[in-house]
Symmetry: D3
Subunit: 175 residues, 6 copies
Amino acid sequence: MTDLISIVDTLCRTPRVGWLQRGVADAESVCAHSMLVALLAGEIAAQLNAEGVDVDIKEVLAVATVHDLAESVLGHPGREVRERLRWEEVEEEVFKREFPHLAELFRMYRYETNLVGRVVSFADKLATLIRACRYRKMGYDTGDLVKNLYLKLSKYDDLAHLLEFYVSKYCGSLV
Amino acid sequence: MTDLISIVDTLCRTPRVGWLQRGVADAESVCAHSMLVALLAGEIAAQLNAEGVDVDIKEVLAVATVHDLAESVLGHPGREVRERLRWEEVEEEVFKREFPHLAELFRMYRYETNLVGRVVSFADKLATLIRACRYRKMGYDTGDLVKNLYLKLSKYDDLAHLLEFYVSKYCGSLV
Amino acid sequence: MTDLISIVDTLCRTPRVGWLQRGVADAESVCAHSMLVALLAGEIAAQLNAEGVDVDIKEVLAVATVHDLAESVLGHPGREVRERLRWEEVEEEVFKREFPHLAELFRMYRYETNLVGRVVSFADKLATLIRACRYRKMGYDTGDLVKNLYLKLSKYDDLAHLLEFYVSKYCGSLV
Amino acid sequence: MTDLISIVDTLCRTPRVGWLQRGVADAESVCAHSMLVALLAGEIAAQLNAEGVDVDIKEVLAVATVHDLAESVLGHPGREVRERLRWEEVEEEVFKREFPHLAELFRMYRYETNLVGRVVSFADKLATLIRACRYRKMGYDTGDLVKNLYLKLSKYDDLAHLLEFYVSKYCGSLV
Amino acid sequence: MTDLISIVDTLCRTPRVGWLQRGVADAESVCAHSMLVALLAGEIAAQLNAEGVDVDIKEVLAVATVHDLAESVLGHPGREVRERLRWEEVEEEVFKREFPHLAELFRMYRYETNLVGRVVSFADKLATLIRACRYRKMGYDTGDLVKNLYLKLSKYDDLAHLLEFYVSKYCGSLV
Amino acid sequence: MTDLISIVDTLCRTPRVGWLQRGVADAESVCAHSMLVALLAGEIAAQLNAEGVDVDIKEVLAVATVHDLAESVLGHPGREVRERLRWEEVEEEVFKREFPHLAELFRMYRYETNLVGRVVSFADKLATLIRACRYRKMGYDTGDLVKNLYLKLSKYDDLAHLLEFYVSKYCGSLV
């Protein structure tokens, strides 16, 4: 599938299954998620720059934009499917085959091979966390995800202050 | 996930990824597919009865209705994901855990353990074939699927006349 | 209209008008309702079996799946329209004409001619009740329906314990 | 139901069932139809004025806008349901009860009591005809409707030139 | 763009951007808004008539129905775009060019040249206010709009009792 | 509006008005367009690299991803609105205020200040061209846009071979 229109439309019409399973009526698509990760990662990179940390905003945006492209081929299966596969390797294999010119960017994110990839990986989880908080505010049961993601994000010690900032802004007293 | 409302809504909001990848704008959901399989299988069973073949319409409808329930947990991933797993076994495992009272019905379909299961398995592929023909009529490129499914369906020798009937009705001169 | 694809798509694109009239943004379709009735009825039959009551799960699933098929022809009009017609007879007439091989199943449900039909008729009302509870949780005014349906369901004496179980699970303290 | 928001949203979320039954994926809602009737009727009235015929554009727009309001209560059932009822009388009864201040406008349209009502009744059928032509162009089978409506519209002798104009513009050589 | 079908469909598929910016999932379209303004304005005119004030219900309905037609050409841009243009004049220019036979109606509304236009202009703001209240009830942050519109509507001294009636009915204790 | 979730959702729920005006039923959103521009621009940059031209793929992806962010504030108005404003300057002003850390990227694209911006600007038009071709294939009248965009793209002399490649792939013999 190298038709770029079909790739984009698949991503923009694929709802993230975790939201569906929690009853969300108009669930976030994979492409909306990718855009949110990009904007979050860009803001975070800008903030890190302001704190004197050197990380390229443009690289962060690029990696975030493409990080879920393999889902145009693989779809967005449930957590149980991912856990039964070496999902990272499957994604990478698809990436190399379908988007060879972008495979290096994918690897940064997936294996957190540098600060750019680390920021995107953090933003990926954070985007899901703040979306879960938003859905919770609308009455959906996403509390399990909120807790689970907060725990994972807490392990990025050097970004702890950013986690607190975003949680405070988007989750209020919910975490 | 034993909340029946969330299970149904997940199935009715999950587009089948094969259609998305072929550019379909308003792709068939998993629950619309299940309903189509049920109606097709019911018609086929009635026709077989008329031909003197003994197959229970009610059993056929029941098996068809539940045959994709595991996708409420697993989602509807792309073909490549299914091929990398023993998808049948994964589905069965989920079925046994989440819908133990329906697991026997799933096995009939999946392993074609009797004529009921065989009819549903045939109707499952046929439902996808005639949908592919309908999408092709609207301008989408589904020709590969049409050919592929026709080949698989041709192997059900005893149902060959039904294959011809449905192809003639829904695909016109397209196969 | 004997085109099965159009029949299914009509059912899956027809919102139940009672939800629209109560302001629901993404209202349950007729086919999502049918699927929910099937899953509920299947669970109930399994529970009855466990209690020593003999009712065939497969028959229950079959009847539930087809019980609203006539709406593919009739649409899903408001309550007032149904009350001005002998709606049951209209449905049966359409059923006999369009789906003669399934008309017997419809009659079981509509006239509760046996335990299978009785369970499906109970599950039909119960599916609407628990959906009304879910919508109420999201902020929609469905209180009148909740009360009204609970009253009707209370008349199934032998299924009273099941009514309590489902109301407790899906409606919380709302009834 | 006197909540105006729910009334409007019901009309704007109710797909016209005739399109669904012909397989249309994104079927026209009742409120989109009402708007189309209003714009058509307004254009026709302006043209009649230019030809020296006296008909009030504002009255025509008003009557067209409200002509289907009763469907917020009744829904939009299939043709067979309408034929089994005295649909006109049911609509009028609902109109008088729910929108007493607009009931006079409804009567103009329904019984073509004056030229204003006659123009709206003509525009109502014409709006459905040109929509059927548009859907046919997209690949849907609406030929039966096109023929049927053209025949009905041909009976408005004094508006025959307008029928030809609109058919030529929206249906091309399809009629 | 004089294709009436495209005009209507553009209006019915254009979400009002202010709702999107406040996070509304299934935002009101321009045509749903126009229909709501028409119903509100019609009710208000009927009430004014009952109070002995002379205002033509049909004219009010007609003006309300067409008041946003120019958005089929201009789209529905954000507030900042409107403020940078003489939006009223742009709308009027488009109206004169695309809908010359309706331009007089537009002017009544836009410049409140008579009581009919004044009622529609009031109903336009009121429709947005009560919709904002409805969205707030569903959990969206529309408080700023509610306050802002209430202030503007308070300036219609002679309609103050109607403002209170509608706010009480649709906004409860929220204003 | 600095709520990133609302920004993304506004972009992903805003249909591009040009498609609506040409009758497209399920029109491309602004965020789907941005994603398509990013993938196209990334492919083009990779191809240019293969030809020995030095352009950073990551920068191209980053600029493409953010190039329409101002539309989260401004909406996506019709062509006529844009022409009446110095649209470029309005976008830049919004960008500087809302996304100061990304304003430099916007300027590259808008004023084609370097090869990165030039490639994104080319890909922006090309994404619209190939989408117009796709819609034309489905039966929508987009021929005017196809011609108009092809003319504009023809002025990028150094990218002429890429224009031919993409037109041949996505538009067939339609240009």
